[in-house]
């Protein structure tokens, strides 16, 4: 009897626990409260988001990492702009990353992140992003979440139709928005027509380590190349670029570049051009551009100036390039997951155009051309048209896909996201955005395999959406649930800079590979010291090199004498920690640079040029430990020519002394 009572009691307890879980241990948010938007975006303390969203910072020049559905910001990865917080562009190791043919450029305008793919699906190895202003493409390593490579794009300006990858990341592609004289020269602007060229650059990506190298550059007519996307599946091997200003205007473009009823999507058979180039085609031309590479072993970047580029003239490769007429200055150029439809988002057009890849091939086969432009055949609009979405909204910009047969297009002027069906071209749903949406993003939404659970709309105008912060207000992203027939607005969240575009990926594809520490034994920095006993100070002329270590909770050495006014003092600082999430920082009074923020096992360097005699402190800037406030030191600065010898100590003893 007693036993039975006991088991009954146990059963009661178990069932109580079970029922308190909601659906038998399933996530509560999918239970009875699933109607609540708050429930859908709530990620409980300690739980992880389902997706990473890499949201470009636009005019901030950086790339921000958010979690979806929560909209929480996890990291701002410095890419094209200096970042004092992380010493990017301030320490000696990363300054070369921002080198260009124009010298050190501390800022850019980052636009279109795109995650590397294998067989048309996101592989989560790298994310690429373009710098618009001083044309560059950067690569971010998704194990360290650091920018590890930047390549400058010569003969280009306003590097906008970039940085999209082909189906196996064979190439990352960069198209010029502004055509420029080729070669660059001193010439009258009004002689634009015929003299200015638009370069489309194909950068090969090493399948093993991701190293970028410009394979060839196609010198196209002087239009504006706006956006692009690769073919996929059946259209793999092709790349599509929207153009505007086929009028080749050079002033008041808002009027003069809106004259033609149709501009073009340029369809490029890159496989054909690759074959041509591999067989010795193209012309080697002199150039000058920077290729900057950061090494996780030396924890340092190098910048190399490249002096030669391979130019391909379109008329030399017949059958490789065609123009697809597309209404009214098309902006976004998006290819559906099957690779059949190429969507031209004519930003001034009253309808949305879907070209059919199959029909395009048939028209090429049948040589049904409607004339040519600069030797490039123009196909007939009616021959290649797959379908038209009629009266979908005002000012279409971009389209992404959910992988279930639906497309989602943003409309800037009517501030909305519109869901429509591929094939039937009917509008299914429309939801307002707040306000004036630009890009939108579905994780994997421009690949063969979209993860069609959420769409993120990135708005250009915020106005009254948040508590105000003076004339400048944050820009805003909005998250919609797209699992049902109708979209549901779940969340607004603020972003850094301009959330120009984003790339999303399931967290599980990346997070297990995320690096925790750098192995100290693998550190090949020129000025590394791997034990406290090796830390030292070396004077060479007026340069003083401090080989310093840091560990909880002190620097070694922490008392340094013999430095003089006018010296150039290099602090080469190694974090000896081998423990996850124990960075140390260092800052020196009067140093005309930023702090250093040094990850475990890493070495970084800053330069200090003391200008005043005295004893000056330095300290740890990252709250590292219980004794963080004790982590400090002093440098004695003597007048120039002083006979105070160089000494360096810890706890009153010379370093290395037992």
């Amino acid at each position: 009897m007693k036993t039975i009572f006991k088991s009954l009691l146990a059963l009661t307890i178990v069932s109580t626990i079970l029922s308190s879980c909601g659906n038998g241990g399933d996530k509560g948010k999918q239970g009875a409260l699933s109607g609540s938007a708050a429930e859908k975006v709530y990620v409980a303390p300690g739980e992880h988001d389902e997706f990473y969203a890499f949201v470009s910072g636009g005019f901030s020049g950086q790339l921000a990492v958010y979690g979806l559905p929560s909209g929480r910001l996890f990291k701002v990865i410095p890419v094209f702009s200096v970042d004092a917080e992380k010493a990017y562009g301030f320490n000696e190791e990363t300054k070369p990353m921002l080198n260009t043919s124009h010298g050190f450029i501390p800022w850019d305008d980052s636009h279109h992140p795109d995650i590397s793919q294998t067989a048309g699906e996101l592989d989560g190895r790298w994310v690429f992003i373009n710098g618009n202003n001083t044309p560059r493409i950067a690569k971010i390593d998704l194990t360290t979440f650091e920018t590890t490579e930047i390549i400058e794009i010569p003969n280009s300006a306003g590097n906008h139709s970039s940085s999209f990858v082909t189906e196996n990341t064979e190439y990352v592609v960069a198209g010029t928005r502004f055509s420029v004289p080729y070669p660059q020269r001193d010439m009258p602007i009004k002689e634009y027509k015929g003299n200015f060229k638009g370069a489309l650059t194909f950068i090969s990506v090493d399948p093993k380590d991701g190293t970028m190298d410009i394979k060839f550059q196609i010198m196209m007519p002087g239009f504006n190349y706006d956006l692009s996307h690769p073919g996929r599946g059946k259209s793999h091997g092709w790349f599509f670029f929207t153009t505007y200003n086929t009028e080749e205007a050079n002033s008041l473009l808002e009027v003069n570049a809106s004259q033609n009823d149709k501009d073009f999507i340029a369809a490029i058979n890159w496989k054909k051009i690759e074959e041509y180039v591999n067989n010795g085609g193209g012309t080697k031309a002199p150039t000058n551009y920077a290729h900057n590479v950061y090494s996780d072993e030396t924890h340092s970047a190098t910048s190399t100036m490249k002096k030669e580029i391979l130019i391909v003239n379109p008329s030399d490769v017949p059958g490789a390039i065609y123009f697809l007429p597309t209404p009214k200055s098309p902006h976004g150029c998006d290819v559906d997951p099957t690779g059949e439809y190429i969507i031209g988002n004519g930003k001034l057009a009253a309808e949305l155009t879907a070209h059919s890849f199959t029909k395009m091939l048939a028209a090429i086969e049948g040589k049904k051309f409607d004339g040519e432009a600069y030797g490039i055949p123009i196909l007939k609009y009616e021959d290649i048209l797959g379908g038209v979405v009629k009266q979908p909204g005002l000012g279409p910009l971009h389209t992404e896909f959910d992988g279930k047969g639906y497309a989602y297009t943003t409309f800037f002027i009517s501030s909305e996201v519109v869901k429509w069906k591929l094939g039937t071209w009917e509008v299914i749903d429309r939801k307002p955005t707040y306000y004036s949406v630009g890009h939108l993003m579905i994780p994997g939404g421009n690949s063969r395999k979209p993860f069609g659970k959420y769409v993120l709309a990135m708005n250009k105008i915020t106005k009254d959406r948040y508590i105000p912060t003076g004339p400048e207000v944050t820009q805003s992203a909005q998250l919609y649930d797209i699992t049902g027939e109708k979209m549901e607005l779940l969340l607004d969240f603020p972003t850094i800079g301009e959330p120009h575009y984003a790339a999303g990926i399931p967290a599980e594809l990346i997070k297990e590979r995320s690096k925790k520490i750098y192995k100290l034994e693998e550190n090949k920095h020129k000025y590394v010291v791997k034990t406290e006993a090796e830390s030292k100070v070396v004077r060479t002329g007026n340069e003083v090199h401090i080989y310093m270590t840091m560990i909880r909770s002190h620097f070694s050495p922490d008392n340094i004498e013999g430095v003089q006014v006018g010296d150039k003092v290099y602090f080469h600082v190694t974090n000896l920690e081998q423990d996850y999430d124990v960075p140390h920082g260092i800052a020196m009074i009067g140093a005309q640079t930023s702090e250093l923020l040094i990850m475990p096992g890493q070495t970084e360097t800053f330069v200090w040029e003391p200008k005043q005699v005295g004893v000056w402190p330095f300290y740890c800037t990252d709250f590292c430990s219980a004794l963080h406030q004790e982590m400090q030191g002093y440098v004695r600065v003597s007048p120039k020519g002083s006979n105070v010898p160089v000494t360096y100590t810890l706890d009153g003893d010379a370093i290395g002394a037992e």
């Binding site: 626990i17 909880r552 423990d579």
Partner: protein, 192 residues
């Protein structure tokens, strides 16, 4: 001892239920043993990390010599403190040190009602500081005492056969990710 095992088993079972509430996909096997730290929903000692160098708790758990110490640490509920960024210097008594106590003392200390008393004893073995053996020699030479997490001060002496802390000899020193472990074979009981 039997009672203690039972407590751990119950803890493990309830932890399983908590886990299954947190996220359906993170299914834990029922193999969870008393010595294994349940990985989800707990403090910092539950962080999964096979890359970083081992911390105080991980090193102690990996060595049979510290079996009693580890049981005591868990009974006192101080395991999260031992994985903290610290820095920590731990004077770690081997099993034999506990055996030197009068019969029944350890069992008594492990009782839930003696949790704070046990924690106080353990805290007397931890200095919130970075003291490698070389630094301890210096402390001895300069006559500086060690301030322990219990609030007590311990004397460091350097004798011919080695370094002594609180009157007991340091047998071995191990660097860990969040500080140092110095092995001893006597308990450092707090004076009050």
């Amino acid at each position: 001892m039997k009672k203690i095992n039972l407590t751990f088993a119950l803890l493990a079972v309830s932890a399983l239920f908590i886990v299954s509430c947190n996220g359906g996909e993170k299914k834990q096997t029922s193999e969870t043993t008393a010595t294994e730290v349940v990985k989800t929903g707990l403090g910092q000692s539950a962080v999964k990390d096979t890359v970083s160098a081992a911390n105080v708790l991980q090193v102690a758990q990996s060595l049979d010599d510290f079996k009693t110490l580890v049981v005591a640490v868990k009974a006192a509920g101080v395991e999260d403190a031992l994985v903290n960024t610290g820095p920590l210097t731990v004077f770690a008594p081997v099993n034999a040190a506990f055996d030197k106590l009068p019969a029944g003392t350890v069992e008594d200390l492990l009782k839930p009602e003696n949790k704070s008393k046990l924690a106080m004893i353990l805290k007397n073995h931890v200095a919130p500081a970075n003291y490698p053996d070389t630094q301890l020699s210096k402390e001895a030479k300069k006559g500086r005492k060690l301030y322990m997490a219990s609030g007590n001060y311990l004397v460091v002496e350097e004798k011919e056969d080695g370094i002594y802390v609180g009157g007991t000899k340091i047998l071995k020193t191990v660097q860990v990710s969040n500080g140092w472990i110095h092995v001893i074979d006597n308990l450092l009981l707090p004076t009050e």
